[in-house]
């Protein structure tokens, strides 16, 4: 067992984990943050995307011990004071989800993109979401939602 300490959604946490524990398992099973989903468990689908040190990563392909000392943000950490994050709001407004399983990962990826570029083209959005699979929407409304969130962020 190893003790890991990190900040998750702004709160200091520590937990005892086996070295083989994945970051996704720590978040879901030890910290109860089940908004981070595990879909494929083979780093393809992106349902498990969270931010570590401000960058989007697949939490099913990172060990919890690798995140020791890091700043971690999950979907639960986006809303502030009861207000949805602009990307969450845009997904709701533009019907960017149906079943919702891929949505936390989609949103965490999109937030990373918008932190890098405030005015991405449709091509850039589609390329950036390469590692996030949605089996419901056909991506059309997801792209629309990201575009709308980008517009809202620029206003």
């Amino acid at each position: 067992m190893a003790t890991v300490s990190m900040r998750v959604n702004g709160k200091a946490v520590s937990a005892d984990v086996e070295p083989a524990t994945l970051l996704a398992e720590l978040l879901r099973e030890k910290l109860g943050l089940t908004g981070t989903h595990v879909g494929c468990d083979t780093s393809q689908c992106g349902a498990c995307v969270v931010h570590v040190g401000g960058k989007s990563v697949k939490s099913c392909t990172m060990l919890a011990v690798e995140a020791d000392g890091a700043e971690v943000k999950t979907i639960e950490g986006l809303a502030e004071n009861g207000q949805l994050h602009p990307v969450q709001e845009a997904f709701r407004e533009h019907h960017g989800l149906q079943c919702g399983f891929c949505t936390p990962g989609m949103i965490m990826s999109a937030v990373d993109l918008l932190a890098r570029t405030s005015d991405p083209s449709e091509r850039e959005i589609r390329d950036w979401l390469e590692g996030n699979l949605c089996r419901c929407t056909g991506y059309h409304n997801i792209v629309k939602a990201v575009q709308a969130a980008a517009r809202a962020g620029r206003e």
């Binding site: 994945l22 393809q44 992106g46 989007s56 697949k58 990172m62 060990l63 993109l113 590692g131």
Partner: protein
């Protein structure tokens, strides 16, 4: 995943000794290949030595006509680096096409070439750009480094510190990606140096190789048409679910022409 002892050394020398002391130790850099392989129990190391945050393995600089990139530099950092874009834009483009953004935020140059997946992109750049791999104990030339499928010249306890690339006059990488994994079905890096053109191919065979007939043709005339009728033999190439050896041989010429055209 089978459990293991986890080590986070504070220096390169600590990392080497942790690796030497382990029964079956493995280095963990970005983990984007190693962790999936361990989840499938295709690897079950006794110890993991995490080297992704060692200062000695980081940094990007240009020195005497060569671009030197620390082994723990992520693909995302290479893609975003102004230094790389200025010296060898083709290398930034190649890094931008590896996997997906989340893989690029974790996966590293050193990890990719140490793993030497036959369909990985970086080996094409290391060979076409006359790469030299600096380790904790020696420097290895690119062509001696990549020794076979998932095999390299590295000793079991040897650690890649940095890779140095010759800055070419011009270069480009063209890849035909697998639409699901983004790995190269075929990828070709063409680089024109003062000393001659280098054409390096990944994805097509068990290991990266140089297409020397294409290099000769391009030394004669650096134009896509110079590759008309020039093809690699399909004999040693890979046949799998995605593509036959014959199709891969065809793609090598197509990708090489696209790379030459992209050199402008």
């Amino acid at each position: 995943m089978q459990n293991f002892a986890f080590h986070r050394p504070k220096s390169l020398s600590e990392a080497v000794s942790a690796l030497k002391q382990a029964d079956e130790g493995k280095l963990l850099s970005g983990g984007q290949s190693l962790i999936p392989v361990m989840k499938l129990n295709l690897a079950a190391p006794s110890d993991l030595v995490c080297i992704s945050s060692l200062d000695e393995l980081r940094g990007i600089r240009t020195e005497a006509g060569r671009l030197i990139i620390g082994a723990a530099t992520t693909h995302g950092e290479v893609d975003a680096s102004a230094e790389v874009k200025t010296a060898i834009p083709a290398l930034a483009d190649l890094a931008a096409g590896i996997g997906d953004p989340q893989v690029r935020n974790r996966g590293t140059l050193g990890g990719s070439i140490a793993h030497n997946d036959p369909a990985a992109d970086y080996p094409a750049a290391v060979v076409a750009l006359d790469g030299e791999i600096a380790t904790d104990r020696r420097t290895i030339k690119a062509e001696a480094f990549f020794s076979g499928m998932f095999e390299t010249a590295l000793d079991d306890d040897e650690i890649i510190v940095a890779v140095s690339f010759a800055v070419p006059d011009r270069a480009a990488y063209a890849k035909f990606p697998n639409p699901a994994s983004r790995f190269a079905v075929v990828g070709v890096m063409v680089a024109q140096h003062k000393s001659g053109t280098r054409v390096a191919v990944v994805g097509a065979g068990a290991n990266v190789f140089r297409a020397t007939d294409m290099e000769k043709a391009l030394d004669g005339s650096f134009d896509p048409s110079a590759l008309d009728g020039v093809a690699v033999s399909a004999d040693e190439l890979t046949t799998d679910l995605q593509a036959s050896a014959q199709y891969r041989a065809h793609l090598v010429t197509v990708m090489a022409k696209r790379a030459v055209a992209a050199c402008g």
